[in-house]
């Protein structure tokens, strides 16, 4: 049973002033838990080490996919293969940030990788800002938190220019390149997550601007243009697979823009390799029985409880828990039933006294840099709650 620390919640007016407007779910309950998960320093350290090790393994697995042309196996849309290869070849396509979803890590249970949200991770605002503000409000300032996400992002934005661990040469090497930040119109969580990233990039020293995707012009020759100005750097909180499937012309244009070196796009196209749950199977092939991994395959696993999930599903859509005879015990509906499926060995999530399950999210920006939790049913969906933490 995990340990929770009760706090006084942040009031919604304050959250609104921060731009954190998605504080209340559609059923009128608060999205932010008023409790914090209490962890030890050793547990925080273990999350940190695990995410760093997993990232190295993801690099190896992606290299394996590129070398052996396994794009199709892991469900990558054909019209992104070129841009993925192109982005994989050069360091300028720097991975800005991602979030590992992990089971375990509490109460002596082993940490196990569930998946890696490498392309368009949210929960950034909650992890970097909100859980920190909760501590402040509750006079817990002197406590530590595994949360340097904000400053890690400042540094990693600088690395887009220095391409090195050392960020001290940023000012000298930054040549005024303009950075455009983009989301799709109509979703305030996405828009304000992007605006937070823009804020951090501005602090790092970039010249920045925000635009909705449908107001931006794209061309092979002029690159990415907004209000008659070209942008050399572009961050989009729009999944690559949505670009591939819903706007295939845009996929083609972005491929050409990258090949013609007109702009650099974040997160890079190769992060879709990490994002594909098909990579879980590749990881198991390369690192069988690795302590951080759960067995994964493209067909049902023999004789064990398992989770079936679509390669590019989100928010638990079409995820099912199967018993050892592959009968469905529990499932969530969604739009991904036609997707290729991955079968991953089941692992128990930590639970509280109400039986709610807790999953850790460890952010990675050059190295592991922040921790937050989500709680919900056995399959975490879009109604799951964010839970901050406290290191004691």
């Amino acid at each position: 049973m995990l340990t929770l620390h009760k706090t006084t919640a942040l009031d919604t007016d304050y959250l609104e002033t921060l731009g954190f407007v998605w504080h209340t779910d559609s059923d009128e309950t608060s999205y932010i838990s008023d409790e914090l998960v209490v962890i030890s320093e050793a547990e925080a350290e273990a999350y940190y080490e695990a995410a760093n090790e997993l990232y190295d393994m993801y690099i190896e697995a992606a290299e394996h996919v590129v070398e052996n042309d396994l794009f199709h196996e892991i469900g990558i849309p054909f019209n992104l293969v070129d841009v993925i290869k192109e982005s994989w070849e050069s360091d300028v396509h720097w991975h800005l940030y991602g979030r590992f979803d992990l089971a375990g890590g509490l109460d002596g249970k082993p940490i196990k990788l569930l998946e890696f949200n490498a392309d368009t991770p949210t929960a950034l605002f909650e992890t970097a800002i909100i859980q920190w503000a909760i501590l402040k409000k509750n006079n817990l300032e002197e406590e530590s938190q595994f949360n340097a996400l904000y400053e890690a992002l400042v540094d990693n934005f600088k690395r887009l220019v220095t391409l090195d661990e050392d960020v001290s040469t940023f000012e000298e090497r930054y040549d005024g390149w303009s950075f455009l930040f983009t989301s799709i119109k109509g979703n305030s969580e996405e828009e304000n997550t992007v605006k937070l990233l823009q804020h951090i990039a501005t602090e790092a020293g970039f010249e920045t601007e925000f635009a909705y995707i449908d107001d931006i012009e794209f061309s092979d020759e002029d690159g990415i243009v907004y209000n008659d100005k070209s942008y050399e750097l572009w961050f989009k909180l729009i999944p690559w697979e949505d670009i591939a499937l819903e706007e295939s012309d845009l996929a083609m244009l972005l491929t050409n823009i990258i090949k013609n070196q007109k702009a650099i796009i974040f997160n890079p196209a190769y992060t879709l390799l990490f994002q594909s749950k098909g990579l879980l199977k590749i990881l198991w092939d390369l690192y069988p029985n690795h302590p951080l991994l759960l067995e994964a395959a493209f067909e049902p696993l023999d004789n064990q409880k398992q989770v079936k999930k679509p390669i590019f599903g989100r928010e638990g859509g079409n995820v099912s828990i199967l018993d050892k005879d592959a009968n469905t015990i529990e499932s969530i509906e969604g739009d991904y039933e036609n997707h290729k499926m991955v079968y991953q060995a089941y692992t128990e999530l930590a639970t509280d006294t109400q039986g709610l399950s807790y999953q850790a999210g460890v952010f990675y920006a050059y190295e592991a840099c922040g921790l937050g939790f989500r709680k919900g049913g056995k399959i975490l969906d879009n109604m799951s709650k964010f839970v901050g933490h406290l290191v004691k």
Partner: protein, 194 residues
């Protein structure tokens, strides 16, 4: 461990304090302009009737607008009109839904060619024309395997793939309006985070 910080040092070291005072929405420009959705670029496709009622893709290359030429068994040629194309795609979408399309069957008998709607959907242009049913198809493993069957020869397929991936030098016109009609499904919460 580098990133286990005392909060007091963090607030002074970064602009987080300033952010908490002003929020992220206070300082950004609000310059939005609606733009008309530009016309999609397309493909020029030649489809050949290989047996009565069976078709294969003979050639395919990128073009500014989509045009599909049909060469029939009797040697006549015909350009498919937009309403004809729309009807074929709609019909094929219904077949995909009820599972009778060869595109989504596991090992369809397609050595003679596929139906006209199926052949069009197997082409690159099909992927663009039918973007609205794209999710049904691209998520489908059989579709990926069967697309190749729509081509007259394996080299037509790989040539088509190549020419679509080539940087296009000809056009300097800009395109915009992507995702312009996308509706946000669930209000203010994002579904991207996983």
């Amino acid at each position: 461990m580098k990133y286990l910080n005392k909060l007091s040092t963090m607030a002074t070291a970064t602009g987080l304090g300033a952010l908490l005072a002003t929020g992220v929405t206070g300082c950004t420009s609000n310059d939005q302009q609606q733009q008309e959705q530009a016309q999609a670029k397309g493909a020029f496709i030649i489809i050949e009737e290989s047996a009565p009622g069976k078709y294969k893709i003979k050639d395919e290359f990128p073009a500014d607008e989509t045009r599909i030429v049909l060469k029939k068994l009797d040697g006549t040629e015909k350009v498919l009109t937009k309403p004809e194309l729309d009807a074929l795609i709609k019909e094929e979408a219904a077949k995909i839904d009820d599972g009778t399309s060869n595109l989504t069957k596991e090992n369809p008998q397609v050595s003679q060619g596929m139906g006209l709607g199926e052949t069009i959907m197997a082409s690159m242009a099909g992927a663009m024309l039918g973007a609205w049913i794209g999710n049904k198809l691209f998520g489908n493993q059989n579709y990926q395997n069967n697309r190749k069957a729509g081509y007259k020869s394996p080299s037509t397929y790989s040539k088509s793939q190549k020419s679509f991936n080539k940087p296009r030098k000809s056009s300097s016109s800009k395109r915009s309006g992507f995702f312009g009609s996308k509706k946000s499904s669930s209000g203010s919460r994002s579904s991207y985070g996983g």
